[in-house]
Structure formats: structure tokens, C-alpha cells
Symmetry: C2
Subunit: 215 residues, 2 copies
């Protein structure tokens, strides 16, 4: 009897079943990212996604419950990757003075997220106003980013370079500023460069946090 065939052990075309599924999933996510950001989420049909990914619709529904699930996963993944990158880089910069850490944070985030213009497009345009579930997910991430920025601000305060206060709303506003600048960058072919945006955000953020006393 073939008892050890219990779960996904049988190779096919040289690859494990789990591996094949993972690859199809990856290809579907790639294709969806491409179509969602070119034709738009609404007008991107599942059939076209599957064609582009070289996957049948049957396999699509094997991996995802529907189109929105794909969008959710892309959104989640984009944010998670960016957050991971930022925390990793900031862990390295443990020695730096707080104001320098903020520079590092922004550079890491921006360079990561602007490497592929489709990324900000998906996260800040296509994934907006799709469903209550996605809206909640977005809100969670915004809160998370804001908390992160706020904790950095508190670090600056503890260092004595900024007043000790509640930074939650300030951080929320800064997240919005970053979002809008990236949305503009992604939309306009040549309105502004990434380095200009980085510079602007740095100034905006340091001014808002340090809030130097009036002369």
C-alpha cells in the first residue's frame, strides 16, 4: 500500500506538489500586480490574470478565494516587506543619534518602495475604497507605521532634542504626507524625483518632531 502518499509527497514534472503550488501562487501574484496597476483593479479580469500567469482558472481558485483575496495579499505583503526592511536597517543603526535614525528610516522605506512604481500604485491607489475588509487592513497598517514613527519621535525626545509629548497625530499626518508624495510620484512621469521626495520628507518630519522653539 502507498501509505506515505498522505500529503503532497508525489513529485510532478520534477517538482514537489507544494513547490508547484507555491510557484503558481507567486506567478499569480506577479500577474495580478501587473494587471491591477496597469488596467486597474476593477477592470482586471480573473481570466486575464490567469492567462498572464500561465495558470488555469481552476488553479486560481485552488489558491485564492477570489480577486479581492489576491489584492489583500499583495497589499499585506508590500507593507510587511517594507516594514521588515525598515526594522532591519534601523536595528543596524542602533548606535546613531535619534535624528540620524529618522534619516535612515526614510531612506530605507523610500528606496524599498520606489524600486518598483507598481508598489506604491497598488498600495496607495488601487487598494483604496475596494471593500470594508481591505479598508480595515489598510487602516491597521497606517496605524502601525504611525506608531513606528511615533516611537522614533519619542526616542528623539528622550535624547533631549525634542519635547516629550503625544506624537500619534503628528505621525499619522506624516504618514499621509509620505503617501501623497508617493502617489504623486507614481502618477506623474516626471513631476519629481525620489531624492527630492526623500529630502522633503526628511525636513517635514524633523521639523514636526523637533519643533524647534520660536526665535
Amino acid at each position: 500500500m502507498t501509505e506515505r502518499a498522505a500529503a503532497g509527497a508525489r513529485p510532478y514534472r520534477g517538482k514537489d506538489i507544494d513547490q508547484r503550488r507555491a510557484e503558481r501562487r507567486a506567478r499569480l501574484l506577479d500577474a495580478a500586480l501587473e494587471l491591477f496597476t496597469s488596467t486597474g483593479y476593477q477592470h482586471a479580469g480573473i481570466a486575464r490574470i490567469c492567462t498572464l500567469a500561465g495558470v488555469s482558472t481552476r488553479n486560481f481558485y485552488e489558491e485564492f478565494s477570489g480577486k479581492e483575496a489576491v489584492l489583500c495579499e499583495l497589499h499585506e505583503r508590500i507593507n510587511a516587506v517594507a516594514m521588515e526592511r525598515v526594522t532591519a536597517v534601523l536595528d543596524e543603526a542602533r548606535e546613531q543619534e535619534p535624528a540620524g535614525r529618522i534619516r535612515v528610516l526614510i531612506d530605507a522605506f523610500l528606496s524599498g518602495v520606489t524600486a518598483d512604481p507598481r508598489v506604491p500604485r497598488l498600495a496607495y491607489v488601487e487598494a483604496v475604497g475596494v471593500s470594508p475588509a481591505l479598508e480595515r487592513q489598510h487602516r491597521r497598517w497606517v496605524e502601525r507605521w504611525a506608531s513606528y514613527i511615533a516611537s522614533e519621535a519619542e526616542r528623539v525626545a528622550a535624547y533631549g532634542q525634542a519635547p516629550s509629548r503625544d506624537y500619534r497625530l503628528t505621525a499619522l499626518g506624516l504618514v499621509g504626507a509620505i503617501t501623497e508624495l508617493l502617489r504623486a510620484w507614481q502618477a506623474g512621469s516626471s513631476s519629481c524625483s525620489v531624492s527630492e521626495i526623500a529630502e522633503e520628507i526628511r525636513e517635514l518630519m524633523l521639523d514636526a518632531i523637533i519643533r524647534r522653539p520660536a526665535p
Copy 2:
């Protein structure tokens, strides 16, 4: 012969034909605003909009080319009304010193736009990522608001309270900050009050514009 019946002269139910059309149009826009912000733009059917407005689908297509046209007009109208209000109030405050004008600007904008939570919801959530046309329209308005803020900043600079520089990117970021705070306000039942938001935006904006020299 009834020759003067050329165009919409015949009254009906006591009202002119143009007037009736205008009223239907207004009721349709109201109903659409309600449904777009409750069930979401996507899942709001034209039939339901018409029912809520007390208008037949035939009349709907007499007024609008489709659902998206309604959303466009709502978006345009919301921005136009807000802009008109702000410019009017700011015209009044011609005498004030530039920094005071910014306070006036923010208060006027926020009090106008938060009077009905559906307004920020439609402008900053539902109208996002719908179509290239709407995205362009949104972009135009963002640019317009940013220009407006930038010109106020230049006024502060001319007054000698801020450096004379290019404020375009700063203004764009500030628009984003306002947008995000309103989006959060509109989403969370009780996360933050309008006055807290107003206070935060005031500080954010003044810090960004005045950019007081480092100690």
C-alpha cells in the same frame, strides 16, 4: 399654433421643466452620496440610487451618462465648494498677518469638510482608484490645493517670517497630511476629534513653512 413651446417652457406640477430636471439632478446626487458612502461606490447599483432619489432610471440617464459621471460630479462639487469657501474666508482676512491667515484657511477648510462625514469619505476613499479619468481629476485638485497652500507660504516668506524657497513639494506633503487625518477621522468613530486634527495640522503646517532655524 403653439410655437413658443420650443424648449422646456411648459410647466408641470407647478414647476418649470428645467427646474424639475435640476431638482431630480440634486436628489440623484444626494442619493448617490448617501449610497456611495454607505454601501461603497462599487456595490451601489443605479437602480437603488434611483429608488432612493425617487427618480426613474430613464430620468437618471437623462441627467448622467452613467454611475461614474455622478461620482465625478460629486467629487468636483465637493472640492469646488470647499475651495470657494476657503477663498471667500481668506479674502475677508486680507488684513491679517500671513501666519494668522493660515490658521483661518485650515479652520475654514476643516469646518466645511467635516460638517458631513460623508464628504471626506467620498473624496478621499470612494473616489480613489476608480478610473484614470477620476484619478486625473483628483490629481488636478490636489495640485490646486497645493498651489494654494504654496502661495500662502510665499506670502509668509514675503512677510519675512519664513525663508523664500520652492514650497511645492512641502505643500503637496501637507495636503497629504490633511487627507490622511481626515480619512482616519472619517473611518474611526472616536479616534480623534476635529479640533485635535485642526490643531495638529496648524502646527504641522506652520513648522513646515516657517521652518525656524536650528538653535
